[in-house]
Structure formats: C-alpha cells, structure tokens
Symmetry: C2
DNA sequence: CAATTTCTAAGACAAGTGCTTTAGCAAGTC
DNA sequence: GACTTGCTAAAGCACTTGTCTTAGAAATTG
C-alpha cells in the first residue's frame, strides 16, 4: 500500500472517530488502529499532531464547499441582489446549501459536519482551525454581502446575528448528520434556509429598542 | 472541613474545569486537586463517576432555573395567552430568561451554561443528563404551550423548531458565557428573545411549501 | 467515655497516553 | 549493483488515567 493511500485511510478513520467521540476523544493510537495500521504512530508520521489532522480533514472538505459557495455568491451578484426579504433568503441559501450538500456526500460528509460544529462551538480550543474556517474567502465575502441587509442593531454587539446564524447553521447540520442516512435532505435544507433567514431578518422588538435607548452602550461589549 | 463542604468544593471545581476543557476534558484526579483535595480519589468517593458529577452540577442550577421558568409560565397562563406574535414572544421569554439569568449568577452560572450547551450539543454522549434536562417539568410544559403557536410544518420532522430553538438558545448563552464578566446582560437577553421568537415564528417559505407538497413525507424522517 | 460512622490521606495497580527510537522493507536513483 | 528515500513495524519512554486498598483522622452516636 502506498503512502498516499495510508494517509487517506488515516484521515477517514480520524474523521469517523472525531465525529463519534469528539475531536479530543480518540487517541492517536486508536485512530491508527482503526485505519488498519499496525503501526502505533502512523498518524504522527504523516500529520504530526492532532491539530494538523483536524486541519487536513477540514481542508479536504473545504475543497468542495468553497467553490460551491463562491459560485452561488457569483450568480447572486450578477443577478444584482434584490433588496428586502427575498434577496436575504438567497444569501442565506448561499450560506446553507454548500454545507448542507455534505449531508449527501457519503465520503465523510456527515462526519465533517459534526466536526465543524465542534470547532465552531469551542473556538478557543480549536483556535487555528476556527480561524481558518472563518477566514475562508467565501465566508468573508458572505459576511460583507449580508451586512447591509441586517437591522443596524443586529450587526454590532452584544449579539452579532451573522455569527449567531453561522453557529445555528453548523449546530443544526451536525444534529441532522448524527441522525444517520436519510435519503433526501432537500426539504430539511429548505427549512434550514427559512430559519437562517429568520434569524438574520428578525425584527428588533420594541422591548429591545427600549433597552438600546435607555442604557448607554456597554463598554464591556466590544 | 466537613464532608458537605468538600462535596461543594469538588462540585465547583468540576464545574469550572468542565466549562474550560469540556466535560470529558479534565481527569478525576485533576478535579480533586483543583478542589484542594490531596486525596486523588475524593471525587469517586463522593459522586462515583463522571456522569454523576455532571448530574449533580446540573441539578444544583436547576433548583433555581426550574421555579423561575414555572413562575413565568404561571403568570403567562393566568393572563391568558394572547394569540399571535406577542404571545409567542412572551413564551420565548419564558424559555430564555431563566437560563439567561445564570449569566449574572457568579456562583458557577456561566460555567453551567457552557456545560448545558455541551450536553445539548452531544445528547447521545450525555444521554442521562440530556434526558433529565429535556424532561424537566418546565420544559415539558413549555413545549406543550408553544406548539399551537407554530406553523404546522414547523412541528414535525425534518426540523422541529421547538428543539432547534432550544439548541440555539443554549449555544448562544454558552458563547456569551465564555466572553467573561459583562456587567449587564439585559440587552443581550432581549436580543436573544427576539431571535428565539423569530425561529419559532419564521414563515414557511414558498420554496419550502413546494418541497412539502411535491415530495411525499419521508418515511426515514421519524 | 467508647464505639461507630464518615471522611481524607497516601499509595499502588494495570492500562492507556503522546511521543521517540530503532529496525526493516520496498520502491525508485545514480 | 550500491544507495538514498518513503514508509511501516515494533518496542520502549516517561507520564497520566480510572480504580482500589489500606490506614488514620474527625465527627457523630451510643
């Protein structure tokens, strides 16, 4: 077996075990064994440490997700973003669909979604990967495009809706990915687009406006 | 030092370390040491295993959260639930505020919120605690009260909005809890109520309706 | 007071951890 | 052919893990 094959086997095993037991769950030995390696330290040889394995897994899937999302953003910009709710739904779709497509990608797709959710949920623990995911070109571009659609109070602290929407998306996709092997995810994805749109477009209630105007901006909220 | 004090110290240390390193992060020894115990197995003596420590932590905070939420639901039912959006916002508030109040509870409140989020995000790993949290009387009652407010398509599979809203809430509270010590969380909580309301009340889009009617109900979606 | 229960201290145990080293194998390259 | 290179096998390192045992201190009870 060539080195390239071994590398791929290790990556797939790590993916599976990371999804099942958490990124910090399985030991390096365990992953090597699961990949069919009798060598206890094959993982160290090929990747070095846990963080690098994680980075390699994410990178593998980003190779598909990124172009997909960039393509959606391209057509969205060519058509000219229609203002109002409908334009926002298309932007939400550009966020959701490329990730949701991983549900059907039976080569580690669901596992990837669970891993991404863990990285998103604990950014300080997986800082390097979290930064990489956040700085992906498609995400930077998406954030810039969506901002004008949001109510002003929804952009700054104390609760950035862009980030809240992303966290929500990743969490729900992971939940779906855990409930194995559904044949068709289109209805689910459509619901998800509705909810992400709702989070982004949610009106700022009278109560919240009152809070904004009654209390000075909180300096501790950067 | 009495046994009761030691027990409390162990619980607080576990809370802190669970929040910082994940529930599976710290070793039993580590927790004992952090609680000032020279005994390496003080935790085992008082609680038995990790799951029981987790259960004790959650129970400690539920003692405050449960009555708070039940009280809100009581006044809400006495006033008679006004139909439409405003009644829904009050229901969302009854879900959000008792948990959000933990942000200010500087006796493990923020830590508790991070722990709850992890339990919610990985229900199969922490099945016992997840079941306990889900079966709490206030939550059972809340679910029953909120259901009539939801669009029919939002109640069943493939995406229960009640559960999605709860997951969202727990995740955002954990994120807020991680960004230490803000003096005032009322504006944040109000934003959060807006977003939970938006998730629950989100219109089912034309695209989603088309998916519902064009494809037969998916038998794999229980 | 004595007896009993409750709790902490201290240590030992096998098993498992990340990581390193050494050896061997199978290709390519000169 | 000799030799470097890429990779796997196997074992060993110091250390940590959960669990168990034993002993002694402290509080509670008779």
């Amino acid at each position: 077996m060539s080195g390239e094959d071994t590398r791929r086997d290790l990556l797939l095993a790590a993916e599976r075990l990371f999804a099942a037991g958490g990124i910090d769950g399985p030991s390096m030995r365990e992953i090597s064994k699961a990949a069919g390696q009798l060598n206890t330290s094959a993982l160290q040889y090929h990747f070095g440490d846990r963080q690098s394995v994680l980075a390699a897994i994410i990178d593998r899937h980003h190779r598909d997700v990124e172009p997909h999302r960039l393509g959606l953003l391209d057509t969205l910009e060519l058509d000219g973003e229609p203002p109002g709710e409908s334009g926002l739904r298309e932007l939400a779709a550009a966020l959701v669909l490329p990730q949701a497509a991983r549900l059907d990608h039976h080569d580690g797709g669901p596992e990837y979604l669970q891993i991404i959710a863990e990285v998103t949920a604990r950014p300080e623990r997986f800082a390097a990967s979290f930064a990489a995911v956040s700085a992906a070109p498609s995400m930077v571009r998406w954030r810039a495009l969506v901002t004008p659609f949001l109510p002003p109070a929804a952009v700054g602290p104390p609760l950035h809706r862009r980030f809240a929407a992303i966290r929500f998306l990743n969490g729900e996709l992971a939940t779906r990915a855990r409930e194995h092997h559904r044949p068709d995810h289109r209805l689910f994805a459509s619901h998800l687009v509705d909810l992400v749109t709702a989070i982004l477009a949610a009106p700022v209630s009278a109560q919240t406006s009152r809070h904004i105007h009654s209390s000075p901006p909180n300096p501790a909220d950067r």
